[in-house]
Symmetry: C2
Subunit: 435 residues, 2 copies
């Protein structure tokens, strides 16, 4: 178990207590430090409005997911279309480390096609809420159980993994749910799935349902959360706390409507909880390229506020933030940009800047100003920042002008050196290290 919550060179603080964002001590069933990913960009993601993946693109994405290290790759049902079936076969033959799954309706027609594709497992789903029973398939729970048992035994007889999931689980009758989960557990499914199909669940509901289910089944529990109300990442985390083992994700969360738990955001959540486990399993430095690959394939921009890879995820602006970040990045960062192959940025060219950020810039420019002088030039920068948006050149010009003025009259040798080679930033190493 890591003490990563307080990493970044602050071991003196970190070692005094365990990671406060780690697994909760009271959650003895928690899988926060042993979770697995079912990556569904090629199934749920194909249901995203903009998605059309041809075979070559599917293979490229599958390989990239495998390099990232996902545990399972889930594919569109081979019953959806003839090409979908061929793509299942092609990806199952790639020999990836990740296990290949396909997702089918709870129907023998689909099951027969699925087991012939060569996949490692089949994810079966059927609607169990009154809404879906009434308006989708029109069947009662006895029928649901009967067809589930038939499909599960058929898939198991082919020696591959089988998952049974309800659909719209959070609007299903609890007793109905527990009954069918117990039935399929008893006949030996590898895992059962809970699905928040409409994105309505909240974290404490999730915790309660998973904990309850955990007392009914012995198999693993998988969870699938839609993001309509913005809780898909938190629900996934809370499900793991309650004892779920596997989370469905997709790259950038693409899926029906506004999608499901995004892979990247869940990585952010999990690395805050157990950095060692996440780093040992997943190749986080591939995250950005993976997101770019999928974003280009479905013609969207990576959201400006995307966790980890959003353009400003590691940008610090306010003066008091910049001051502390310069002293110790952990003060305002729970994530380490270097874990993802990214870098931190202190945004000092604005009216909210503070003298610590400007002092750091003065040092980067290898100029020599006292703290009082830095505070004075900071006021000049803030005054211009009040009038218009600033860029780095604006700030550097103000600093250089100020430096030239204050250093000319009283430090003739320095001034003349500056005036002779005004553009150079070369300084003796000793000087640079002083700061």
């Amino acid at each position: 178990m890591s003490l990563n919550g307080a990493a970044n060179g602050t071991e003196n603080i970190a070692q005094t207590k365990p990671n406060p964002y780690g697994p909760h001590p009271s959650d003895f069933l928690s899988n926060v430090s042993s979770f697995q990913l079912i990556e569904s960009t090629l199934r749920e993601g194909e249901q995203f409005a903009n998605a059309f993946f041809d075979t070559a693109k599917k293979i490229e994405i599958a390989k990239a997911l495998d390099e990232f290290g996902v545990d399972y790759i889930e594919l569109t049902s081979p019953a959806a279309s003839e090409q979908s079936r061929k793509d299942c076969e092609a990806i199952a033959k790639l020999g990836l480390k990740a296990k290949i799954l396909t997702h089918i309706r709870c129907h023998m027609d689909d099951a027969r096609i699925a087991v012939e594709t060569g996949v490692d497992g089949v994810d079966v789903v059927i609607g169990t809420s009154q809404f879906l029973r009434q308006y989708s398939h029109g069947k009662d729970m006895t029928y649901v159980a009967k067809s589930a048992v038939e499909v599960i035994e058929y898939v198991k007889s082919h020696g591959i993994e089988i998952r049974f999931s309800s659909e719209d689980s959070f609007r299903s009758d609890l007793v109905d749910l527990l009954n069918i989960y117990r039935t399929v557990n008893d006949i030996g499914v590898n895992r059962v799935g809970i699905a928040d199909t409409v994105g309505c669940a909240n974290p404490r509901q999730v915790y309660e349902l998973v904990r309850t289910l955990k007392s009914v089944v012995s198999c693993d529990i998988e969870c699938h959360f839609h993001n309509d109300t913005g809780c898909a990442v938190a629900n996934a985390y809370t499900a793991l706390e309650a004892g779920a083992k596997l989370i469905d994700v997709s790259v950038l969360g693409i899926g029906e409507r506004n999608g499901i738990t995004p892979l990247g955001a869940l990585m952010a959540r999990m690395i805050a909880a157990d950095r060692d486990y996440v780093l040992s399993k997943y190749n986080l430095k591939k995250l950005r390229d993976l997101e770019i690959l999928v974003a280009e394939a479905v013609q969207v921009n990576i959201p400006f506020n995307n966790p980890i890879t959003g353009f400003c995820a590691f940008t610090h602006k306010a003066g008091i933030h910049a001051k502390a970040i310069l002293a110790n990045p952990s003060t305002y960062e729970i994530l380490k940009p270097e874990d993802f192959g990214l870098t931190r940025y202190i945004h000092f060219a604005n009216r909210l800047t503070g003298w610590n950020a400007i002092k750091s810039r003065v040092d980067q420019l290898n100029l020599d100003l006292t703290d009082t002088q830095v505070k004075e030039v900071t006021q000049k920068i803030k005054a211009l920042g009040d009038i218009r948006a600033l860029n780095i050149d604006d700030v550097d010009s103000i600093i250089r002008d100020y430096h030239a003025k204050v250093s000319t009259p009283r430090q003739a040798p320095v001034a003349s050196e500056n005036s002779e080679i005004p553009e150079t930033l070369e300084q003796p190493e000793a000087k640079r290290q002083k700061n």
Copy 2:
């Protein structure tokens, strides 16, 4: 209390049980149905990397927030820069319904400037975690308490609201926190704030801290959640369940790094929990324009997967989804697009489409096909969808071609009518209503 979880014309289901996404019966302290918003686009949002708001833009945004119906508008500290001070004064003079707050460091210099601006209240913040005490202000808790009391009493003496917030609350010592909150509660602050400054908190931590604090203070509790690990919406909701009253939000969540709880996403969460309350207080039909206003001001795109206003938030694609949505939108929607002045879209032009979606399109085109014929033309559409991305015109052409072929030999009058006026979709009203 609404039964909105199952709205959209399914009262037969909805009335059998209370809204399962409503306030949890065991949460007797819950403010899920009585929460308030502190809108911080003009404070936290100004700390977003791209933000530079001139006075006119600030006023435009403040007025738009007021029309939306936010309870409070929080502004950048008047101590940040001279223009920031003038902008506080200008917005305080607008006579908006929303109360105007400004946000200051816990320092008498800032407090003196703030009370002169004419704002309705002051939000004071100071770092309480060991990280911030060590690397930001360098003060101990005795100093923090002493300066808090001085600033609070000074602001109160001017007859305006005062909030005291810790910063980085989830990395602060619990006893330190409770001590200072009790102290400031006893001298009469209007509210105390909890801030997840680095975005590390998870929902069950939030619930525990808010519940604990609720037993220590009698004033209102405000919460501020950063979104670094994707939990800012869920944390806000869980805080309200635990008894917090006010949530800090910004439009699109803009703020330091990747920002805080987004206004729109929180509205999605809250309307699922208590639609009547949300509709009674907030003008949701203004949400989209508000987001566009701010997105343009800070030069970002609205994220493709933004709750509610993302371009595909109400787009349904997979065949089984489309079938049920056509029968009853509540099957796959927890939000009603019409609440936000938006519309639903069934995406039928793709290989995952089903015959119910195509049947609906055939009806929209006022063509007459049997179910067997619709299933046959659906296979043709899926076959082309396997080869390339489809658009609506592709699907319509396939349907029209098919319709022409099947109707020509046996229904001469219809065929000739079609061939004479192929572009018109006019049909007798009786025909249209039949479907």
